[in-house]
Symmetry: C2
Subunit: 461 residues, 2 copies
């Protein structure tokens, strides 16, 4: 790579291009092509998330991509929040459409007219569905691959419950799921209560999962929302309770996007390129055979491959001619493959495998018969990634400047008063993201001295 | 079910609703919601297809959903073919867009400007990619779930080759893949050479996979296209050959859609409902425990479940209270689950499993220790489905009237002359689909007496 990760913005653009994750030369601004390697990474993330949701009794659906203006306008606050970001379909063939159709920016307005039809009785609740789809937002700000784009890979859960308490329990389930996802992806995060004026349009409250980038800026990589009855009253989603009385359902949502990829690239990467978490890496192991005098190199590599295959390890073998082993090492390091197996004369003769770790840990030579240990090595490597990433977040929270000085984040004690928040935003020239629930402490507001807790001010992506 | 399959159109609508495959009450005409059971079926089909493509060295990508008017207009014939069917995005927020954006109806115009960037040299060829995405078509005809809709689940392969011969070899590979897919799905088909005036816009020739519906009408469920250099010359996709000379690539495509689901429903279904091919059924086995005097019913069912799980069989257990076993039998027959395990006192006592086949074959009682036979039973059931479906196609081809008399198809010998084709279309009041390559024979044209071969005239969906 030409750029060091300390020049984060250049490094980010370079590695996306070098590793062939996405191609931003598509002729429409802010819409990128998922290349095979990037798409494989995203799909592995999708499948990991999908499996967890299935286990938690979510059912998968897929809604149409278009939402009529009429469906949208049922919830005024919601369409207000999105009106500047909607792509509008106004023509079919050469005809003008009677009702303009918006490309979904998220699916509340698509789903809740159907919830009204599907939910009749308390036995229909809870209803828990999710979908993994593209959504579209007419971003007018500067676009950036995986971070701010116009054609977005999106994962959204929607639930309906009998009571607010049940909906709150679902919020807790989301938190557990989020813990599982970020643990798999080795990502650190803050749970931040968005201020009233910055919550999701239509929500009672929004908890965002914000995290740190090497530039010192923060990025939101997941959100959970408590809707209460805000949407159900507008979309008329009711159920008959045990006494037969009609009640509005209580709703929640959980949203994630390809920003997960952005954070994986950014937080784990280094000057050599990507470092991918083993749980979702397209290849967990690359085998580099080193031609020498050993006659049975290929058959030994085949044995290793068979063993990895039986263990369910995702791997590739780099047999390319006209490339040196050194070139291949660099190439697969840049691609972020967690483990590299170097197989040369010595390994063939001794029936061993030399294992190089992408994290830079000292190489290990193991016996062929110890290959089952690869799973443990991948696990250890995950632990390393997790620890390193968490340290970065903690350093940022403790005031260490990661990127440009003007990007530094601030974490003063703040009360609930908007005036105090606005005063500090101006003082820091930063944006209030909200109160930090998982890393914060209680105390007295830095501005007014009233009760408050740790708040996050930052320059978010 | 209320309708018999002999009233095909009513039967089709009823089973889709009863089995909860898709919900057509979505407020936009011709755009339906994939419900969990239907989506699971579609996803299993996707995964089966995906696995085959990976094995055949295709790489998976995902392109943006929008295509600018400028990108489209590069290939005149192509946009002419689709201009009546395009949904046009003309506004972003409240602003009018500079260049109108079409929602992709298929992805040639999206992909080939990128092919121009990606392909430089003969070593870049063949390039073989696929994607599984939604496409959109502004259908003005009567819409019907899975068959003619406006928001379509679509699978598309695109390849580029050095020579026409290499592209022809790819067409042969598609045929093998199609054989594999239809074998898994137990579907019969005809390979039909579309007439010149009905080929894909931009193709040199189009081979369609047409098949028969119980109504006697035909339906196209897959197509492969030879583009030659038609697109590459327009989109300027060139490579340097061995001598360093710039040459236009030769291209092919392969397209399939959720019409595969339409055909699975229609060809295998019966008066009780769906009959799903084991390879893609959401559940291959349903276990119905029948409460009786046996104390250890649940633990025995758990043992069976563990055994099925270990064999990778997809199954569900119906423990619902307040429903009789008979009700459950009907329910899961309607849902098309291939095998039903009935577990009552006798089975618990003798450690046996009574297996009922959805195809109506005589029930079998097997020992618990023979459970590994379930895979063979599923295989046998697939063979039954295949045979029954092929008989239906052969009967239709031999002149048997399946649905309404006016739906009958005709298979006369026809030459290549458009005049003869049009004359027969008028005579039969049917549409010429083309010459049948796999079921046809050579002979003399029924109209002019010149050399010809078997042609298919039908009323296609």
């Amino acid at each position: 790579m030409e750029n060091s990760r300390s020049d984060f913005s250049e490094w980010y653009n370079e590695i996306i291009e070098l590793a062939e994750l996405t191609d931003k030369r598509y002729p429409i601004k802010g819409m990128n092509v998922w290349l095979p390697y990037g798409f494989s990474l995203m799909r592995n993330i999708d499948e990991m998330i999908r499996g967890k949701f299935y286990g938690d009794d979510f059912r998968e659906v897929m809604f149409p991509a278009l939402i009529s203006r009429g469906m949208f306008e049922i919830e005024f606050e919601h369409i207000k929040g999105f009106e500047k970001e909607l792509f509008w379909v106004t023509k079919g063939g050469k005809e003008s459409l009677e009702d303009d159709l918006a490309m979904r920016p998220t699916s509340e307005a698509a789903m809740y007219p159907m919830f009204k039809l599907w939910i009749r009785d308390h036995v229909d609740l809870p209803m828990k569905i999710f979908q993994i789809v593209q959504v579209w937002r007419y971003e007018t700000k500067h676009t950036r691959p995986f971070i701010r784009i116009r054609d977005i890979h999106f994962i959204e859960c929607h639930t309906a419950h009998s009571t607010y308490e049940d909906a709150e329990k679902q919020m807790e389930i989301y938190r557990n799921e989020w813990n599982f996802f970020t643990d798999s992806l080795c990502l650190p995060y803050m749970e931040v209560q968005r201020p009233e004026w910055d919550k999701f349009p239509g929500a009672i409250y929004t908890r965002a999962f914000d995290t740190i980038m090497p530039s010192g800026r923060t990025i939101q990589i997941g959100t959970i929302h408590q809707y209460g009855q805000n949407f159900s009253k507008n979309y008329d989603v009711k159920y008959a309770d045990l006494d037969g009385n009609a009640q509005y359902v209580h709703q929640t949502t959980f949203g994630m996007s390809e920003r997960l990829v952005a954070h994986i690239i950014s937080i784990h990467g280094d000057d050599k390129g990507l470092v991918l978490p083993p749980a979702v890496a397209p290849y967990q192991v690359v085998i580099v055979p080193i031609p020498g005098s050993a006659q049975n190199l290929k058959s030994y590599v085949d044995e290793i491959a068979a063993s990895l295959g039986n263990s369910g390890i995702r791997f590739t073998i780099d047999y390319r001619e006209n490339y040196t082993p050194g070139y291949k090492y660099n190439h697969w390091e840049m691609k972020g493959v967690p483990l590299r197996f170097e197989i040369g004369d010595r390994e063939v003769k001794n029936r061993t495998v030399t294992v190089a770790f992408r994290t830079g840990r000292k190489k290990e030579t193991i016996q062929f018969t110890q290959l089952e240990n690869v799973k443990n090595m991948l696990h250890d490597l995950s632990m390393e990634l997790k620890e390193k990433a968490h340290i970065l977040l903690k350093e940022a929270l403790s005031g260490k400047v990661l990127g440009e000085p003007e990007d530094a984040l601030r974490t003063p004690i703040l009360c609930q008063d908007e005036k105090c928040a606005r005063q500090l935003e101006e003082k820091f020239s930063l944006t209030l993201m909200g109160h930090i629930m998982n890393y914060g402490k209680e105390g007295k507001c830095e501005v007014c001295g009233k009760d408050g807790q740790t708040a996050l001010f930052s320059r978010p992506y």
